[in-house]
Each structure stands twice: as C-alpha cells, then as structure tokens.
C-alpha cells in the first residue's frame, strides 16, 4: 500500500512542481544532481524519489531557461561533478512558483475544510 501511495504521490506532485522542488533544494547552496535528489528525498520524509530520468531533463531545462547555472567542481570525495547554482532569475521564479503553490494549497484547503475558515 505504501508503495502505491508513494507512486501516486510522485505522479501527482511531480507534475509541474518538480521544477519548484529542484529550485528550492538549490536555494541554500549550489549542489550536483545526485545531492539534489537526496535533499528532496530526505526533506520530503522519503516520500518523493526523484527519478534520474526526470531530474536531469529538469535540470537541463532550468539551465536553458537561465534559472540555474552550472559548473564542474570536485565533491568532498574528489569526484568530479556538475554543480548547479540558482541564478537571480531562478530565485525570482522560485518566489513566483512558491506564491502560486501557497495560493493553490490555501484554495484547496478552503474547499476541503470549509469549517476551518475564519
């Protein structure tokens, strides 16, 4: 059952929100794709497993839109990896996405739990 829930969550949440999650993960510090996936997974309490086949197209798409930029660096374990960093444009985009997300959550919340409304 847990497997199915996870699967469903992934499908529903990742559509359109993956970009936001990736950007949010990059907000604090530049990181490579693997770390990005790990961050999302751990912060979501292991609910989201970002598939490699979704993560890299997303990262490259974001880079093409100039929301992130990349450079090759060495990791702590001396592994050469491509680090992604949020750009000013990306930060702006993240703010917009986040706003919209909050709006969506509030709206859905209002529909689902009308009695909570003040």
């Amino acid at each position: 059952m847990a497997e199915t829930t996870k699967y469903q969550n992934r499908i529903e949440l990742l559509q359109g929100t993956l970009d936001m999650l990736v950007l949010q993960a990059l907000l604090r510090e530049p990181m490579h794709g693997y770390a990005n996936a790990q961050v999302i997974r751990s912060r979501s309490g292991e609910v989201f497993t970002v598939e490699t086949g979704s993560l890299y197209p997303a990262l490259h798409r974001l880079e093409r839109q100039k929301w992130v930029k990349s450079e090759w660096k060495l990791t702590e374990s001396k592994q050469r990896a491509k680090f992604y960093q949020l750009t000013a444009l990306g930060k702006k985009q993240l703010t917009t996405d986040h706003q919209r997300w909050l709006q969506l959550v509030r709206a859905i919340g209002a529909v689902m739990e009308p009695e909570v409304q003040p």
Partner: protein, 903 residues
C-alpha cells in the same frame, strides 16, 4: 571539429556517470557489497541512453543535430550516385538558368521602368513628325518656345549623336556612344549623380574652351577604374577638349531601351560641329544651313522631347504646347506640296507616348515571350525527368526504406531525409543556374544585337529575377522531390516491405509503371514541341541567310574608309579623281572583278528623299518618297544589280554636265506606273523646280535595307556630279571576298598613305549581322531542343534501367523457360515504343498548333513546317530507342543461372 552539442553530449555522459558513481559510493559506504551496490544503483538509475536522449531534447539542440546528421547522410548518398547527382545538377542549372537568362532580357526590354523616381510621370512628347524621316524631332527654337510656355514642367531634349573617338592620355583611343542632352535632362528625370555633378544651366553656354561631359557609370568604371576617379579627368573627344564633370547613377543607362550612351554632352556642343548629329529639314531651298549652328534655325529638326508631367496636368500642359507650337507646325508643312497631307499635318495635336513604347519593345516582345514559353517548357521537361528518375530511385531503395520504417524510423523523418537530399541538389543547381543565367543573358544580348550596334541593358540582378529564381527552385523541389517522396512513402513502401510481397508488388508496379510512363510521354511531347520549333527557326534563319537580295551577297566586300576629314572634305572637287585611282588600283588586284565607291556605308543607310516628276502634278506624298544613294562608276556591276533599261553612269557625267539619275524598278513603278522612266525629268521639289535630274537608267530592286525587308524604292545619283566623301568602297571578288582584305589595305595604302580603313566586312556578314531576332530564336531553340533530347534520352535510360533491374528475376525465368534474348530485348524496346508513340501523337498536335501561332516569326509554308514535326519525331524516336537499347541488352545478356541462383 567539435559541435557544441557533441561537447554537451560528452558532458552529459560524464554528469550521469558521476551520479551513478556517487550512488554506488553511498551504497558501499552503507555497507553493501560493491558488485551488488553497482547493480542496485544501475537498477535505480534506469535506462541511461534514454535519459541522455530525453535530457538532450530539453536543451533544444536536437533538431539541429538531426538536421546535420541528415545533411551528412544526404551528401554521402549523393556522392554514392554520381550519375544521378550530375544529371540533376545539370538539369536544374540549365532548366532554371535558361529561364533566368531569358527573363532577365525580357524584364530589361519589356517590364523595367526607368530607374528614376515616379517613372510613370515621364513621357515622350510628340509634337510633329519631321518631313522626311518621319521622326518626332523638332527644331531648337521650337524647343525653347515650348519650354518657355510651361516653365514649371521639366521639358527635356536630347539628340543621339554618332559614336565619337575618345582620346585618353597614354591610352589607345576608344569609340564612345554619345548623346546630346539639354541642361535640365538629369534634373528633370530625377537622376542622381554617382560622383561629381550633373548638368546645370551654365553648361549650355556656347563656345566653351573645355566642354563638360557626364559619363555612364559602367563606362566610367571600365575606362577610369571608378566613378570617383573619372570626375575631373581632362580628355579629348573628336579632337576637342572636355572635362568629366560627373557620373550618372549606377542604374541609369539612358532613356531608350537597349541603347546606352557612354557619354552625355550639352546640346550647345552641336554648334562646334564636333559630332555628327542626325537631322531632318524642310529640304533644299528652305533656308537651311547645316554648317552654321542649329540653335537659331527653325527649319532643322533634330531634338527629341521628353517631359515629366503629373498625370492630372497632362491635358492642360499639352494644350499649352499646342498653342506655342502652332507656328512651327505651319513651317513644317511647307515640306510637302500635297494639300491633303498639309491639312492633315496641321490637324495633328501634340501628344504623349510612354517611354517604354519603342522599336526595341515592338521588335522583341513577341520573340522574347516565345522564348520565355520555350524556357518554361524546358524547365518542365527537366522537372518531369527528375521526378521520374527520382521515383525510379525510390523504388530501387524501397527495401532499404521499408526496413528502416519497420525498425521505427518515422515516415516524416524519411521524407525529410529524401527531401533534404534533393534540397541540396536544388541549392547546388540554383547556384549554377544563377551563374549560368548571368553569363547567358549577356550572350543572348549579343545574339539579339545587330552586328554593328551592341544593345546595352541593365542586367544587374533585381528583385523580380530573384523572386523567379526562388519560385523555380521551390517548384522544382516540390515537383521532383516532395511529391514523389510523399506519394512513395504513403502509398507503397511499407506494403512492398519486409517479405518483398510479390503479389501485392505486381499491382503496385503496374501503377508505378503507368505513372512513370505518363511522365515520360509528357517529356516526349514537350521535347517534340521544342525540337519542332528549333527546326523551324533554323530553317527560317537559313532562309534569310540565303534569300536572293538582288545583290551578289556572297562575293561582295565592303571596305569602309575614313574620308570625313578636312583633308578630303575641304577639297571635295578632288574626290572624283581619288575615286578613279582607288577603283583602278583595286581592280588591278588579282581576284577582284570590279570595284566602286558608294555613299552608303552598309545596309539601312540610304537617306529618305522626295522625287517629283516634271509634268506630273498629281503625285501624292506616299508616291514621291523613296531612298537616295550616291554611287560611283561601276557600282551596279560590282553589286550585281542588273540594269534593266537605259545606261549606267559614265565618266562623261561630271559636275559640269547635266545631272543624271538612275532609278530602281520599285521607285519607277511608284512614280510612273508602267511607263518608261528613261528620259523623264525629276527634281527634289515640286514644280517649277522639278526638272533638275534626267533619268538615264532603270535598275532592278535590291534589298539594301536588309535581307528581311522588302526592296525599297531607291534613286541613285552619280557621286562625281556632286562630289562628297563616300562611306564605303565595294569590291566584287571572284571567290571568297574576305580573302582580299590584306591586299585591299595594301592597295589603298599605295593610292593614299594617309587614308585609313576603319573596317572591312563581306556583304553576307553585314546582311546576316542584321538578323538578330532570327539568330536569337534559332540558336536558343536549338540549344533547348538538344537539351531536351538529352533529357529524354537520360529519362528513358534511367527508367528502363531501373525497370529491367527490378524485372531481372522475371527475365531470368523467361530465359530459362526458353525465351530468346531477342525476345527479352523486344519486350523492353516495345515498352519504349509505346511510350514514345503516346508522347509523339499529342506532341505533334501541340507542335502544329505552336508553329501556327508562331508563324509570324517563321518563313515557310505549313507543309514545310509539318515536315519539321516529322523530322523532329524521328530524331526523338531514335534518341529514345538508343537510350533503351543499353539496359535492354544488359537484361537480355544477363546469365539466367546467375539471376535464378540469387532468387
């Protein structure tokens, strides 16, 4: 060479590899076995190449990458079939190039506007026809009056002078075409200078020490290197000092289509006599002094008019001019004694005519339109041919294509690959076509030109030409590539696929065969049309080159001496003696039968005159007008013009004796009907001065205005009775006249070392040089016909080769079952014969119709031209059959065992 996406690809692989390594490292750190860790990480990772592909697509380079891949593939493919590639390139180059070349000429002659602002406002002004030449020329005083009548309307005048000799410091002198123009010519037209300045009012001053001149841009560049360098140059023209004050705009090459002056000069230059300017006048006895300046003589007509009038003001302006011109109109009618003609002249109103309405347009519109149609047909034949070859090629690739489709290639990508391959061909072919078109249009102009005067057109590439080129490129791409590819992919490839399904294949090939047969027979039809036209045009050219012109065209040599020099003109009474010595010396040359001098330098030269017969007051204007020429002793026997009645000029006719005239048969009939002209008195003017000359002889008619034109009425006077410099010496040779040139030069040098000879040319060359239109049509149609013949042959060869290749197995079985090789050959040749027949029948009808439409350009009867259809069909049939025989033999002589084994 690393493409950006190749670097990106490597970088991506490395990035994903790093991801994998980190995942493995983490699992190992968590205590997993390294092999297990790797397997698990890979499992979690997913399909690596797929991820790479998807990721790369996100970067947006994919389409370009695919395009380059396809391009490389296409180039490799083209290299692998050099015969097809070469055929396609040449077909496109010729098909498109021919259209471009003819269109460029058509555009320059018929469609192009004067390159000035608002060209529709500029028109020719036609006040009155001059009395003899019937040209729209008026006198200088009349021009001044008209200009003064409407000061706000620019009224420009010009006069085309004869070519002059331009002397440059340290350079060989060059001949330049000159035009005299009024001071407002450039400003009125709105032509801008490319360098320096154009004419202003001050340039019209009389008696300038150094005259101003304006050069045509291309002439300035050719002569001085550039427009800027030309300005300020001091030069001599016909011995007079000039300074180049400016160069006209690059695109402006004069106001008359086909004729581009090299130099423009002020009208006032006429007063110096430096240039020979054509003129007309009221004739002798009307106070005409050609030697004095013309600017104050109202009876010399030499100026052509042009004006820029806004359309809404035309009627008003013309009415003004009519009023101002009334006096001059009355003066001009004095030239005729015919009261009817006189009244008609007075009724004429000043009119306008578009600049584009000129002899050039009249002469070339129909031939060029015809050539355009022929060019379009050759383009069509080329496209059909390529479409057919293309279909055959696609069928040969059917197996490969269907396998690729079965493996998952999208039909869009396959079509794109095929079309890309052809787009490369079309692009390559078009580059060749543009180059070919540029070169060819220059050659066409030379063919169309008369021998002595080369037409000059603005042949710079222009927008309509580029549009036509692009349109033809697109059309050819659609017809020979996109359509066949789409038809092929969507109808057949997949069905014929995989198992090479025989049963489905047979009905399929029957349809394909029908399609390519239709294409082939259409080609045959069009090719027959072009071949027929070519034969007819060639026959017409040969006719005019050999028609009886009333002169001995094959044996007469024309020598042009330079006698218009003060040394001769100032002592004209000495000329008869010089002519006698020249004649005597030349006739002593071996191979020369006789020699004579003539005022005319060549064809189209006799001037228009009027003869009135003493005692006949009822002659109309149409009857009295004819052509006049002054000739030396022995002229008629030299030219081979028979004397019909009376006598030739003799040495006893001198300026001291009664002036005599010899009249041509046509002139005699025009003036006197069938009455004997000998003994009649004639004069240039009506009674009482109508008995100046006594007619002593009548000669046969000769086509002195060119082979195509009817023999004009001519009156010949003796040059010894009115001594003047002649323009030609004619010789009649025993054999080929051009062999005599060196001897003639030498002999003339002996007679007079100071005498220069400007040109020596056989009469036949002079006459043939005049057949511009015929030559253009015959040569171009000839080239087109041979090209289409070649294309048809290639078409048959290509289609039949691919067909026999596909039927190899069938032939193998037939041979194994006892069919003879002859049988196999006949099978294939029979197919060709049917296609030929299907093409020749409609082609013959088409050709007959075309010949009938073009009969205006053709000499010869309908039956003679039907013969051309038959001859062309025959040639076409031979070409098609020979082209088929090669693959037919190959099929018939294949080893049946070999083919069956491969089955």
């Amino acid at each position: 060479m690393h493409w950006p996406w190749e670097r990106a690809k490597e970088s991506l692989s490395e990035e994903l590899e790093a991801h994998l390594q980190m995942a493995i490292a983490e699992r190992v750190a968590d205590g997993e076995d390294s092999t297990q860790a790797r397997a698990a990480a890979l499992h979690e990772f997913g399909n690596l190449p797929l991820i790479e592909d998807v990721t790369r697509e996100r970067r947006g380079w994919m389409w370009l990458e695919n395009l380059l891949q396809d391009t490389r593939y296409a180039l490799r493919h083209l290299r692998r079939s050099p015969a097809f590639t070469a055929t396609a390139l040449l077909t496109l180059a010729f098909g498109i190039g021919a259209n471009l070349a003819v269109f460029q000429l058509l555009y320059a002659v018929i469609l192009a506007d004067l390159p000035v602002p608002h060209p529709e406002e500029v028109t020719r002004i036609q006040a009155a026809r001059s009395p003899f030449d019937q040209s729209w020329t008026i006198s200088y005083p009349a021009y001044q009056r008209l200009r003064a009548a409407t000061p706000d309307i620019p009224l420009m005048a010009s006069a085309y002078a004869q070519d002059a000799t331009l002397d440059l410091p340290n350079r060989a002198p060059i001949e330049a075409a000159c035009t005299l123009v009024s001071d407002n010519y450039f400003s009125g037209l709105g032509v801008a200078p490319a360098a320096g300045r154009l004419f202003v009012q001050a340039d019209e001053r009389m008696d300038q020490g150094e005259w101003p001149m304006v050069l045509r841009h291309d002439f300035a560049r050719k002569t001085f290197g550039s427009a800027q360098q030309a300005v300020g140059q001091h030069v001599h023209l016909n011995g007079r000092a000039f300074i180049v004050i400016g160069v006209a705009h690059r695109r402006f090459i004069g106001d008359r289509t086909g004729y581009a002056p090299d130099i423009w000069m002020p009208l006032a230059l006429e007063s110096t006599g430096a240039l020979a300017v054509p003129w007309d006048s009221l004739g002798p006895g009307h106070d005409v002094s050609l030697d004095k300046p013309w600017y104050n003589q109202p009876t010399i007509f030499w100026l052509l008019l042009m004006a820029r009038i806004p359309p809404q003001r035309r009627a008003e302006v013309l009415a003004h001019w009519d009023q101002a011109f009334r006096n001059d109109r009355e003066v001009m009618t004095e030239a005729t004694a015919d009261p009817v003609v006189r009244a008609a002249h007075l009724r004429v109103k000043t009119g306008i005519a578009p600049l584009s309405e000129n002899g050039m347009k009249k002469k070339f519109t129909a031939p060029l339109t015809l050539l355009m149609a022929l060019s379009a047909s050759i383009f069509l034949v080329g496209c059909l041919n390529l479409a057919n070859l293309q279909l055959a090629r696609l069928h040969a690739r059917a197996h490969e294509l269907s396998v690729r489709m079965a493996l998952g290639a999208s039909s869009g990508r396959l079509i794109r690959q095929i079309v890309l391959e052809d787009a490369l061909l079309v692009a390559g072919g078009s580059v060749c076509a543009f180059v070919l078109g540029q070169v060819a249009s220059g050659i066409l102009v030379r063919w169309a030109s008369n021998r002595n005067s080369l037409f000059t057109f603005d042949l710079h590439p222009n927008l309509p030409l580029a549009a036509l080129g692009a349109g033809l490129m697109l059309l050819s791409l659609v017809s020979f590539s996109i359509l066949p590819a789409v038809i092929f992919i969507h109808t057949g490839a997949t069905q014929a696929a995989g198992s090479r399904a025989k049963v489905a294949g047979i009905s399929q090939t029957a349809r394909q065969r029908f399609r390519s047969n239709v294409l082939l027979s259409t080609q045959v039809s069009l090719s027959l049309l072009l071949s027929t036209m070519s034969v007819c045009f060639a026959a017409t050219l040969v006719h005019w080159e050999t028609v009886d012109v009333g002169m001995d065209r094959e044996h007469v040599l024309i020598v042009r001496p330079e006698l218009h020099e003060p040394r001769y003109t100032d002592r004209s009474e000495m000329l008869p003696e010089l002519y006698r010595r020249i004649q005597e010396r030349l006739e002593a040359l071996p191979g020369v039968r006789s020699a004579a001098v003539e005022m005319c330098g060549g064809i189209h030269c006799g001037w228009i005159t009027a003869l009135y017969v003493h005692g006949r007051n009822d002659l109309t204007d149409a009857q009295v007008h004819g052509q006049e020429d002054h000739v030396g002793l022995g002229f008629f026997s030299t030219l081979g013009i028979p004397i019909l009645r009376g006598r030739d000029f003799s040495s006893s006719d001198t300026d001291k004796t009664q002036p005599v005239a010899i009249i041509s048969r046509a002139y005699a009939r025009q003036l006197l009907g069938d009455a004997d002209p000998i003994g009649q008195w004639v004069g240039y003017v009506p009674a009482p001065d109508d008995h100046k000359f006594l007619i002593v002889g009548e000669v046969a008619d000769a086509r002195v205005n060119g082979a195509e034109r009817e023999a004009p009425p001519v009156v010949y006077m003796s040059i010894n009775q009115n001594p003047a410099p002649v323009n030609s010496i004619r010789l009649r040779a025993v054999g080929d006249p051009s062999q005599l040139s060196e001897g003639v030069r030498h002999a003339l040098y002996e007679v007079d070392p100071a005498l220069t000879v400007s040109e020596i040319v056989p009469l036949a060359a002079e006459l043939n040089g005049d057949l511009g239109t015929e030559k253009l049509l015959a040569r171009l149609a000839g080239i087109y016909a041979s090209l289409t013949l070649l294309l048809v042959a290639i078409g048959f060869y290509g289609v039949m080769s691919s067909r026999t290749a596909r039927r190899k197995n069938e032939f193998g079985i037939r041979l194994a079952l006892g069919a003879t090789r002859r049988h196999i050959q006949m099978l294939i040749v029979g197919q060709t014969a049917r296609v030929l027949l299907a093409g020749i029948l409609p082609g013959a009808i088409l050709s007959t119709l075309a010949v009938r439409t073009a009969s205006h350009f053709l000499y010869g009867s309908v039956s003679a031209n039907s013969l051309a259809v038959i001859a062309a069909s025959f040639v076409l049939a031979i070409a098609g059959s020979v082209a088929t025989l090669i693959p037919a033999r190959r099929a018939a002589y294949a080893d049946p065992l070999e083919t069956l084994r491969s089955e």
